[in-house]
Symmetry: C2
Subunit: 403 residues, 2 copies
């Protein structure tokens, strides 16, 4: 959904040529800004920019790089100002989760701290869905849809195999700290399509005995069970369940995966035939099954970011504010970046059923609108037509900079 938001930013900016000359993209995010490695999006056709809306990932690259405080690293802030000044950059848009919001906040303060006039807007995006104020974070709804749909489909498969073969299916999903993605597995089961699902949340301490007992109950009742396990599940010792100290035949440490660990328990304690999957990047890049709500909101926050900057805003984030559940109504409103950065969002505790293995109706009401609607990409010869940018660099004007 990074691309859908970029599409919203660039298309909206192009509607205001009197106010915004060109949109430059930092190649690989803030690193590109520091290195003066800027991409001239003005060299991309309207069609290419439009196609970003249905293309997964981030077409200009991304990075994991958090700016330190001004006190700790004045050098980087001064460099950013040099780059901004050299290329007449007055508006700064930064797309990401909590760390990016923090970086964006620091840049929004450059006018005050270092006297360079800049307006900085944070554009929310994270599949972890853990930013405050906003109803949800673009990117999350599509991962949720993927997990819900895939868990339903795999459950149908297991149901038809269970008599003489696989009885337990385990799928590992993302979310090291927050259980939102795992919770989406609960949507696989609904009132018209009831399915036996066990969810293992990172917020709930794992109890092997209770877990195996629950799986056993479901298999005895339904003939099979599906387990959605978050990569971040921890045991009573506080360690990740995936961190089992596995070694191969040569004694080398082996790289987990919590799904095979849970599978081993099902085999050892229950002796049921099982299969396991690890969705990893497949879940967050699955543009082919994107939620239409998510795509619409990702575009909307990008568009709103430009409108806010043209309206004189600084240090804000366009937040999605839910007005009603059913029908789902929402609006984009300004959130103060000071209230966004470095604030941890409420954990989904109240969304988890008392037994710790399922989602409440409250959670269902929250999640369902976020996966509503299908936004299919165009296809050619059986494959989705995803766009790639030319990514033509802007000529450099400054001396090189070492990160």
């Amino acid at each position: 959904m990074i691309n859908a938001s970029a599409c919203g930013v660039i298309q909206t900016a192009r509607k205001h040529p009197d106010r915004i000359g060109t949109v430059f993209a930092g190649r690989n995010g803030i690193i590109g800004a520091l290195l003066e490695d800027l991409i001239d999006t003005g060299r991309e056709s309207d069609d290419s920019i439009g196609a970003l809306r249905h293309t997964p990932s981030g077409a200009f690259g991304s990075c994991r790089y958090k700016l330190n405080s001004l006190e700790q690293n004045r050098r980087e802030y001064e460099r950013l100002i040099e780059v901004f000044a050299a290329h007449d950059i007055g508006y700064f848009f930064y797309n990401g989760g909590g760390d990016s919001a923090d970086t964006c906040l620091k840049i929004s303060q450059l006018s005050e701290t270092l006297g360079y006039p800049i307006q900085a807007i944070h554009v929310p995006k994270t599949v972890d869905n853990d930013l405050p104020i906003t109803d949800n974070c673009p990117g999350f709804g599509s991962v949720a849809k993927y997990v819900a749909v895939s868990t339903r489909e795999a459950s149908f498969d297991v149901a038809s195999m269970a008599k003489t073969s696989t009885k337990v299916f385990i799928v590992e999903v993302m979310g090291r700290h927050a259980g939102w993605i795992a919770a989406a597995g609960g949507l696989a089961s609904s009132s018209d399509t009831e399915l036996p699902i066990v969810i293992l949340f990172p917020e709930v301490e794992f109890d092997r005995e209770r877990f195996c007992q629950r799986v056993d109950e479901l298999v005895k009742h339904y003939g099979y069970a599906s387990i959605v396990v978050s990569e971040g599940v921890r045991g009573a010792d506080g360690k990740f369940l995936s961190d089992q100290g596995l070694t191969d035949a040569f004694g080398h440490a082996q790289l987990g995966g919590v799904a095979p660990v849970v599978a081993n328990m099902v085999k050892t304690d229950l002796d049921y035939k099982y299969l396991w999957a690890v969705a990893d990047y497949l879940q967050r890049s699955a543009r082919h099954i994107a939620s239409a709500t998510d795509v619409t909101q990702a575009y909307a926050v990008g568009k709103a970011a430009v409108e806010m900057v043209l309206d004189g805003a600084n240090a804000v984030m366009p937040a999605i504010i839910r007005k009603s559940n059913d029908p789902y109504r929402w609006a984009i409103e300004r959130a103060d970046l000071n209230l966004v950065a470095n604030v941890e969002k409420m954990r989904p505790g109240e969304y988890i059923t008392a037994d710790g293995f399922g989602i409440t109706n409250h959670c269902r009401q929250y999640l369902e609108p976020l996966i509503e609607g299908e936004d299919y990409p165009p296809y050619s010869r059986g494959m989705p037509s995803y766009v790639r940018m030319n990514n033509i660099p802007v000529g450099k004007k400054l001396a090189p900079f070492e990160l």
Copy 2:
């Protein structure tokens, strides 16, 4: 696609009420026939039967159960005849791969061997795509589409992360003996969307040094690489690569997954940041991204099976015969079940490039039509509407039978 073929069989049978009274389904396949556990599909509405076309898995259950020869297990054949006679069953349709074709062939011979008049038709279906004569096997095209699309999407994701994070993505796919599914990963890259993909086929002996060298070349050139690895890859010792003798902290054997094994090599030998996924059931139940060609053919072989039986055929399989590649033209023709059962299909050797890591143009021309077109299921509240049958049992007339 089992359901799409069942839809073809039942809808076609319903058009001939003068010739076919009711279609009974064996609950969990041949086991249901042996146990006299029959489902009366006549009790399902036209709408429900129609919805089978877009529902994954097999709505009447399935089994892994191969009939032994008449000499070895006369008892089971005599039981089948009792059940057929008790319920006036004259036509037998069996859906599956090589083992099912063998079972179906044995049943087709009951008229001759045990004097019971039956016509048996095998309806091809296997994601392994390893039946002879037929151009491809229903079920395969949709798995191929899922693998091709997912590999393309994940590759876009890795490309945008590669600068400071993940450089190598590994996805494990099905196919213990045949590399067709892994080959589909090669479609992720096309002339208009070139991507650095390495495929590890079960037909190619794994060479760790050559593999790591190839990955390294691609990462150095493109900045990243995607690896599609078949679960059936073997090393020079003939053992599955997934069979690494892993043990957990307590010395218990750990259940592989070849993707984490390959990931470990990437880390140990190349020290690139990596992520891995295991698609498992997600790939074969992914009705949401089914190939329209596959759905059409799955339905067509079901329909043809009924037409063949009404035309007096026995011991045949409706086979898909390719007439041309581009445009893809095909027809359904009768294949002699003697030539299908227990015959191994040509391995995709000539489809693999000389270096062993990619697919040839010949392979691409074969595969592309099979993933052509999208056949989306209907959705309700963001989720696909998959049907479940009432599965009302037919009254039993016989004494119980022990398997």
